[in-house]
Amino acid sequence: MDDQIKISCSNIWKLYGENPEKFLKENNNNPSTEQLKSNKYIPAVRDASIDVKTGEILVIMGLSGSGKSTLLRCMSKLIQPTDGQVFFEGKDLLKASDKELIEIRRHKMGMVFQHFALLPHRTVLQNVAFPLEVQGIEPLKREERAKEVIKLVGLEGREKYYPRELSGGQQQRVGLARSLAVEPDVWFLDEPFSALDPLIRKEMQNEFLRLQSMLKKTIVFITHDFDEAIRLADRIAIMYEGLIVQVGTPEELITKPATDYVAEFTKDIPRSKLLNAESVMNNEDKKLYDNTVNYNEKIEKIASKVLKSEGSYSVIDENKKVIGSLSKKEIIKALFAEDKNE
């Protein structure tokens, strides 16, 4: 197995209903939407295959009921999938014993929850130290470690507070700290900022990026907010009614949406902020013009000068080699997505 891949999911199914395993087998592991409906099965996840690469931020995006949380829970085996395979660092998670699972969760996984899931009878310190406590680490050591993480998330001085004494944002900081206390390799975040006010959400997203820049974890992040996905993601997987519709970088999703559903999502995104010269340029025209732009410059920055000038711009790569050109036409196409459909 490729050691670049941390978690590998293949053909995951999660059905709710009576004896779903049998139903799935009878339908060659691939029942259609009609078959599911007529037999009164509720498909949470359908035939999902996805790999999580080491060190990346993979965002799973979808509206409520699209199965994104279920897929995440299959990855950590909080939920037993009806069918499919999950490999964690090359180890078959679905065949692991309870004991092995407990070991993996104690040392390799951390998870943050939408509604924080803090234990109400424990102080901030005790909450953060909780995963260490269940491992049987002695009190002094675990408190020391817990204090470090609390400092990391910026809650120093609040160690003895109880969760009910903290604001939502602060509570989620405790949630982040708790999930980081055991120094996990993989960090699962299930809509961590959805329950927060928009302003706090922005702040927490920055906090998250700051932490990630220091920690470099492998991250699976769930959200229903496309803006959030674009801000944070290396790659985005879009889910719709249990299916993974498309996986790709934010640029790919915007420039080459696989379905109308994805296109609908990406329509309202300010494209100029996201797209760079390379992703919109004319590949055929490799002439060298008077004016040049770098391949990775965002459209937002170059749009006005291209639109003002009469001629075209050459797009050059790191080695100053011309890889394409930009004219008014490409810029306008990029800025107004609708044009593409005509």
Binding site: H121, V134, R164, E165
Partner: protein, 670 residues
């Protein structure tokens, strides 16, 4: 009110038709008269038809079967070593060991070590500190007042009696809580066990106390330990219920957080689940304590000494003044224990920083209080044993007051009583007694079927069939008549009061507070004013039942009316509703499902109280149970108990289902 119409539209005939037909037929059937000795089998259940099995009563000899089972359990030797009775008595002896200890601490002392019981000053001081710790000075004041009353009014030994009762409670409450907790946890973890436990809890909670008192007498004997065991059996079901609810209602995320932290199963249980469900579990403990208190009078029937025993004797001797004094003690203890345990349930851990004394103020206060009290007790005998000369008693004055009160009201009260009997109760009784059992079975079945649940219909029909076949049909109908009469009066009082109370925040608070206080009174207390006002009659029984069981009617009405969504009220006001229209066209229909639930609870309370009212001589099932108790007839007691339980369960099943369906129609639940 339109809602009710739509639910019954076109179904009215179906539900009531067969019932009324049979009822009317009764008067057409030839040779039938009320006094006829051989009534038609369809009206009064026939007597033993299995012939020769010696049953004097029902046509299925349940009583004989049960008694045979009890005999078997008494005699059969498990592994040839000991009988089931030896086993139960063995357990009882363990209970006795704990009892010896608590009794020694609270009122007997340890004579062999020449140590007396805990001096009263300790008990008062520690109660006050605990009150401060749990909520604040008000609670502390309540606790202090309660024990001060007990010591001050102990001319007739109220203090000692209270300590006896508290000693019994301090064994039975923890035991019941522990059993309930374990069963609850087991039920949550093992689905199969839950399927077995739920119906058991339902029956145990609707079985009248007296019916298992008899079994306790047979298998354990009498005295304090028997009382404790009866109390435990009675008190553990709500604990188990609340444990199950608490554990099931923990948010999924918190459980997942526990799993993701790598908890083992035991770590999950003790570090995550139980702490996360601590509020409902603590509420369960509160319930257990209240049930234990309710039992102190009832356990006196099988010889448990204490407040209950003396209250009972004084009630029997109609020494109302003295009974009143003891009653106040019981009520004060009940309110105190209730408020303390409620405060415990709602107690959140507090953040304290600073030096040792600042971090542990109550620990230090307790420590110093113990030292100071010890010195006081050592120096002044006053603090060790409260001198009898300083105790007071108001019973003589109370007696006189009660006498002059009842004498002055004798004529109007008597007139009221007779009026009630002649124009309301007697006719109603006749109506209920003339109901044909076959018709009643069809009636409940039809309701169940119309609610769309075949299984429900069959269950309730089976319940009624059991009552009919057990041989206690006529008595059961008298019980039902008492319950129904009380229910009607409760609704007439409770619903208007609820409406009145729901109109203003301050009224709601006031009424709910009064309800709270009334609900903490042990049920026997309600017999006191009933006897005072109406002597011994159906009216006094119904009076006691009504005061006790109006509480849920009021509570649910207020709850239902106050929980109508604000938006809907605002929409109605802007549509131009008058106050009256708002109430009758908007609020009442929306609150109706809740009011039905209130009626259901009222019915349960009434059924419970009817059994206790048997003490003042009603002629329904409760009288039979009292008779069974004095003859130690376990089979009879249990079967009558089941009859009562099935009356309750039939009504409960139908009303709750009805209410749920209405709530669904209104979109309150999915």
């Amino acid at each position: 009110m339109n809602k009710i119409k739509t639910i019954f539209k076109g179904k009215f005939l179906f539900i009531f038709g067969p019932f009324f037909l049979l009822w009317l037929l009764r008067y057409v059937v030839p040779n039938y008269t009320i006094s006829s000795k051989t009534p038609h089998w369809a009206y009064i259940p026939p007597k033993s038809c299995l012939g020769g099995c010696g049953s004097i009563d029902g046509f299925i000899p349940f009583v004989d079967w049960t008694n045979a089972l009890i005999q078997f359990l008494r005699k059969y030797e498990i592994f040839g070593l000991f009988t089931f009775r030896d086993f139960t008595r063995g357990i009882a002896n363990y209970v006795d060991k704990f009892l010896d200890f608590t009794e020694a601490v609270l009122h007997k002392g340890f004579p062999s070590y020449e140590i007396g019981p805990l001096p009263w000053i300790f008990i008062i001081t520690l109660t006050v500190i605990l009150g401060f710790y749990l909520r604040g000075w008000r609670l502390a004041l309540l606790g202090g007042t309660c024990f001060a009353y007990l010591i001050l009014f102990s001319k007739r030994g109220i203090w000692e009696l209270s300590m006896k009762s508290l000693a019994a409670i301090s064994v039975s409450a923890p035991l019941a809580a522990l059993i309930g907790l374990c069963l609850g946890i087991l039920a949550v973890k093992r689905k199969k066990f839950a399927n077995f436990l739920w119906p058991m809890l339902n029956i145990l909670q609707s079985l009248p106390h007296f019916s298992y008192l008899i079994l306790v007498v047979i298998f354990v004997g009498i005295g304090t330990k028997a009382g404790v065991i009866a109390t435990v059996i009675f008190a553990f079901p709500p604990m188990a219920r609340l444990t199950i609810l608490g554990l099931q209602n923990i948010s999924q995320e918190i459980k997942e957080a526990g799993v993701m932290a790598g908890c083992t199963k035991w770590q999950m249980l003790f570090k995550v689940e139980i702490p996360a469900a601590r509020s409902p579990i603590m509420l369960g403990i509160n319930q257990v304590i209240m049930q234990c208190l309710a039992m102190i009078v009832i356990a006196a029937f099988i010889g448990q000494p204490g407040l209950g025993h003396d209250l009972l004797i004084r009630l029997q001797g109609l020494r109302l003044g003295e009974a009143f004094e003891i009653g106040v003690a019981v009520v004060l203890i009940a309110i105190t224990l209730d408020r303390y345990s409620q405060a415990l349930a709602l107690k959140e851990p507090e953040r304290r920083e600073g030096n040792f004394v600042k971090r542990n103020p109550y620990f230090c206060a307790t420590f110093f209080a113990i030292i100071i009290c010890s010195i006081l007790v050592f120096l002044f005998p006053f603090f060790n044993e409260y001198p009898k000369e300083l105790t007071v008693s108001a019973s003589v004055y109370l007696d006189n007051a009660i006498k002059s009160f009842t004498r002055s009201l004798f004529v109007p009260l008597g007139a009221f009583r007779d009026w009630m009997l002649i124009y309301f109760l007697m006719p109603l009784k006749a109506v209920f007694q003339s109901m044909p059992w076959t018709g009643v079975i069809l009636f409940v079945g039809a309701i169940g079927w119309k609610l769309g649940k075949m299984r429900l219909a069959l269950t309730v029909m089976l319940f009624v069939f059991f009552i009919a076949s057990s041989g206690y049909w006529v008595r059961a109908m008298i019980t039902l008549y008492m319950v129904f009469a009380s229910l009607v009066i409760c609704a007439l009082i409770g619903i208007p009061l609820g409406i009145w109370a729901s109109k203003k925040e301050s009224r709601t608070k006031l009424v709910l507070n009064i309800c709270d206080i009334f609900q903490t009174f042990p049920s026997f207390i309600y017999l006191l004013p009933a006897i005072m006002l109406f002597q011994i009659s159906d009216v006094s029984a119904i009076f006691a039942i009504v005061i006790y069981s109006s509480i849920p009617m009021i509570r649910y009405t207020v709850f239902g009316l106050r929980n109508v969504p604000q938006q809907i009220i605002e929409a109605s006001i802007t549509s131009g509703c008058t106050e009256r229209q708002l109430l009758w066209k908007v609020k009442m229909p929306l609150a109706f499902p809740e009011i039905i639930l209130g009626a259901n609870q009222t019915l349960m309370f009434a059924l419970f109280m009817v059994m206790i009212a048997g003490f003042i001589g009603t002629v329904d099932l409760s009288q039979e149970i009292f008779r069974a108790l004095s003859f130690s007839d376990g089979g009879k007691g249990l079967i009558i108990g089941l009859c009562v339980a099935f009356i309750g369960l039939t009504a409960d099943r139908l009303l709750v289902e009805w209410s749920n369906q209405m709530k669904k129609k209104l979109g309150f639940i999915n």
